[in-house]
Subunit: 566 residues, 2 copies
């Protein structure tokens, strides 16, 4: 509706020095009562102005009959009034000089044309005084980083907020509360959570921009129904990438049924999912199916920034668990590492014949194996150069907490190189103390193999991103001669395409293994190797194409193979 | 190794009148100590003979120096001796007249040729006296139906076993313990759980046969690495089907990595997964990816035997949750019901415009809606003839337990027709009392949408099974003339195929809508309708094929369409 705010001003909006709670009360059956109590409970250190014309004080704080009576203009106001009273109250707040307001009330643009018209009037009323709005039809915000909770969900009724560098912007208030609750139980914290509702004024992208610049946020999570400003979305994705901050997203409306449901929820047009998916892939925004998995991935990314997760070593307390895990990794497209001979030899000192391979079942240890077998195994396997990540699949065993601690200790030893670990806690009650230990040690865990696979898939997708090549654009189209009839070679075809403004990949023509190595050093890996010969039009038919070359040795080996076969 | 036991004798083997615990002790760091204590703890009502040459009594029970000293021959013995002592002990037990033994010890056929040779000797030693064996390399059994726990897993250290008509046969002991633990936390019980280990004597199929005949088991769950007797597997699948007992299976070794891992675990050859999958589809054994999902499905099937689950109504406390659920149902191939006009009209009395559609967000109710909106909504939607199942997707909301109770009450009302419901409890802590309520009411729930989708997919697969047509086999091949060159009609082709012993589907040639209706009444639905004409070889090119006709109305409508288009 209005021009995008700068994230600088949003930063101060989201960190107000004072908050007025319209309709504050002590009655916990009412929205204003729960919201007010929650705000006080989490030690917000700005001024709080409860607004209630019928009371002198509430929970010991002086109460004001209206926002015009507060000692200073509040930076932020929050309200859940009946819909018909919202516009007048916003007018009063804006006139008083409030900088921002949260409108919880629903039935605006989410309830048809009449509500939409009213919503526009409310935004215009606020904008006339420079006041910005969050909502309507939202659940407010939860900012552990600012000790600021403006949200009535029972989810925020916790003894202590957990602060962690994970920001979460949600187009669904109930999902925000739900995920906050579920995350809290798993020891996952946040910097800021914002429920954007109908996005009448401030929209999802405004908050994403804020999170990109926010130094207390490292990973951005989002639940999205519709994107209001797609071009800005692309720009922000690039800025997030440049800042090294992963942006994860669950998008409702991937299917026809989901699209209809999203529309009836916040009147968001979900748009074409295939197009969004293509954009997300190009811009390295990680799309996930499930919001819980998104938060588990965020926790893992925060714990292990920028580590590789291509190939996995599985440690387990169950041979069966190892077999199922191997199946699921294969299906998820995540590699099960093959241990080096040195690793196998070192493990064979502790494991029975054939048991020191990946996945490793700790139950396969020798009868006289060392008592800290969990630590030794984790250290040895993670030290293997072909292993990027340790996946600890714990089943019910005599001492799950002790073994979990051993594995964590082993992974902490210098030889393990600080490589990431992810724990899959399959037991229920038996693993409760182990889960607590993992939270204390800030080690990421999930409760099912399916969650682990979703985390690894998303993590790998983010890490394996390749910047798209810049398109080669023509200075002068006329300089390109139209080719004669016949087959055009690859290099000539690409020149022609590039000159017409169509992006082509970068290439170098090389004549020997040494030239290839030199070009590779310049271009970086992975690479594709192709034969160039006027005699060969269909290169792959004759073994003249080698894909996904990963390093200099691979390049030499596969060039030799190609020279032999073509 | 030996001939299959009859399930009649297995029934008495698994319900022994006396158990000897070899190596019993009070030391809870030792296997024999944990196992012995657990057996006493769960009030097994047969005789218990602790065997320990160094003690007079253990936990108040008289102890015997050896199995030869017990007052009677024990029906069952259980042992976790070092491998080298197993054969002699089995020999002593067999000679004493023990009917069955459980060998926990590993490193037999799971540890190479030498172990395999020893394993065969042990089985032969037992068989010489008619003694049957479970294991080796197993975790024993847990039979809530018999109050018999012969298992040392910490998972069975619970105040009270939960009995439910779910049997579970596992080729992995650790997974059995883990799933028992996780299930216990969700209120899921069992009739019998058996860990089969290396299946040296009694094998998976023996126990499946027992469960098919066991009157306290309705649903059979299995974790399988390799199938020893495939033909018997097929026979048992048919018997389970005939008995109306769903058989669910998680199979390790679906991928190359999984196959290798399964082999190193119990030396099982996982076999070709595609072939097994085809057999399971043909025989209606439901393959699942995750063992936890398998148990959640078993609980739902036990609660709602033989109810349809094709089309789902979604009730939620979050529009966003509804949208994601709609997406996931689409991906899982489960239908989102379209409410009838009558249902929509009834809901519109309680919901704002456009909000009384599927998925229904309870938050879309009218401001003055009835206070038991959850009950009214569940009743109205489940009463819709197009709805088979209610999927309740609960997010964090002010009174999740109260709303959950309302939904359960509404689903219980007569108009709702006893249709199945499945609750998806997305919140953490906030939903804990609601989870307890669901367990008390025996209502199935899961904790994530992914689990719900796996349950619905598997459930639908089981219910939508169609008995394969019996093949028509030739009495006399010579009677079939070899056709002349040219195109052979469908009926003639099928006759020829059938006479050659190749199964063909059953068909009737009809000449009118009435004849079609009559044939349909005889054959049952679903049906395929095809045009028969010597002028038409490629029927579907001309609109001459109609698939998946579901009822008589559908048949008449689509026959008329075909007559108009061909």
């Amino acid at each position: 509706m209005t021009s995008p705010t700068s994230s600088h001003s949003l930063k101060s909006l989201l960190n107000p020095r004072s908050v007025a709670v319209i309709g504050a009360s002590e009655d916990q059956t009412k929205f204003g009562g729960r919201l007010y109590k929650t705000l006080l409970q989490h030690h917000y250190d700005g001024a709080v102005y409860p607004i209630n014309p019928t009371r002198d004080q509430l929970f010991g704080l002086k109460t004001y009959p209206s926002v015009t009576d507060t000692p200073q203009a509040p930076d932020m106001v929050v309200m859940a009034l009946p819909r018909d009273k919202v516009k007048d109250e916003i007018a009063a707040c804006a006139a008083r000089g409030a900088k921002a307001g949260i409108i919880i009330t629903s039935k605006f643009s989410d309830a048809g044309p009449e509500g939409l018209a009213l919503e526009r009037e409310v935004v215009a009323t606020a904008a006339a005084h420079g006041m910005r709005l969050i909502g309507p039809n939202c659940l407010g915000l939860i900012s552990p980083a600012n000790k600021l909770v403006l949200c009535s969900s029972p989810a925020v009724n916790v003894p202590q907020l957990i602060e962690a560098p994970i920001g979460f912007i949600s187009q669904s208030g109930a999902l925000m509360g739900t995920l906050f609750d579920r995350s809290y139980g798993m020891g996952i914290g946040f910097s800021h959570c914002v429920s954007v509702g109908n996005q009448a004024d401030l929209e999802l992208n405004d908050f994403v921009e804020f999170l990109i610049e926010d130094e207390r946020t490292q990973v951005i999570c989002s639940y999205v129904e519709g994107i209001k400003t797609p071009q800005r979305f692309v720009e922000l994705a690039r800025r997030a990438r440049a800042a090294g901050k992963p942006w994860l997203m669950v998008k409702a409306g991937a299917t026809d049924d989901g699209r209809r449901a999203a529309y009836s929820h916040t009147a968001s047009l979900a748009g074409d999912f295939a197009a969004l998916k293509a954009i997300c892939e190009r811009e390295n925004v990680v799309l996930m199916d499930d919001p819980l998995d998104m938060l588990s991935l965020a926790r893992a990314m925060v714990r292990y920034p920028r580590r590789q997760v291509r190939n996995v070593a599985v440690f387990t307390t169950s041979g069966g668990g190892g077999a199922i895990t191997a199946d699921q990794l294969s299906r998820a497209g995540v590699g099960l590492s093959t241990f080096s001979d040195a690793t196998m030899a070192a493990l064979s000192e502790h494991y029975s014949e054939g048991q020191g391979a990946n996945p490793i079942d700790v139950g396969g240890r020798k009868p006289d194996a060392t008592s800290d077998i969990g630590a030794v195994t984790a250290e040895l396997a993670l030290a293997d150069p072909g292993v990027d990540l340790g996946l600890m699949v714990l089943t019910t065993a005599p001492d799950v907490p002790g073994l979990t601690r051993q594995m964590a200790d082993g992974a902490d030893r210098p030889a393990a190189g600080g490589k990431p670990t992810l724990y899959v806690m399959l037991p229920g009650r038996v693993a409760a103390p182990a889960r607590e230990f993992l939270v204390q040690r800030s080690l990421p865990y999930v409760d099912t193999l399916a969650e682990a696979m979703a985390v690894l898939r998303g993590w790998k997708a983010w890490l394996s991103y390749q910047e798209p090549a810049a398109p080669v654009r023509p200075a002068d189209m006329a300089a390109t001669p139209v080719p004669a009839a016949g087959t055009l070679g690859e290099a000539a075809s690409k020149t022609l395409l590039g000159q017409a403004g169509i992006p082509v990949n970068i290439e170098r023509l090389v004549r020997s293994a040494d030239e290839a190595a030199e070009a590779a050093a310049e271009l970086g890996f992975p690479l594709v190797l192709k034969v160039v010969s006027p005699d060969i039009a269909h290169k792959s038919d004759v073994g003249g194409v080698a894909l996904n070359i990963l390093d200099p040795d691979d390049l030499r080996r596969r060039l030799a193979l190609m020279q032999a076969s073509v």
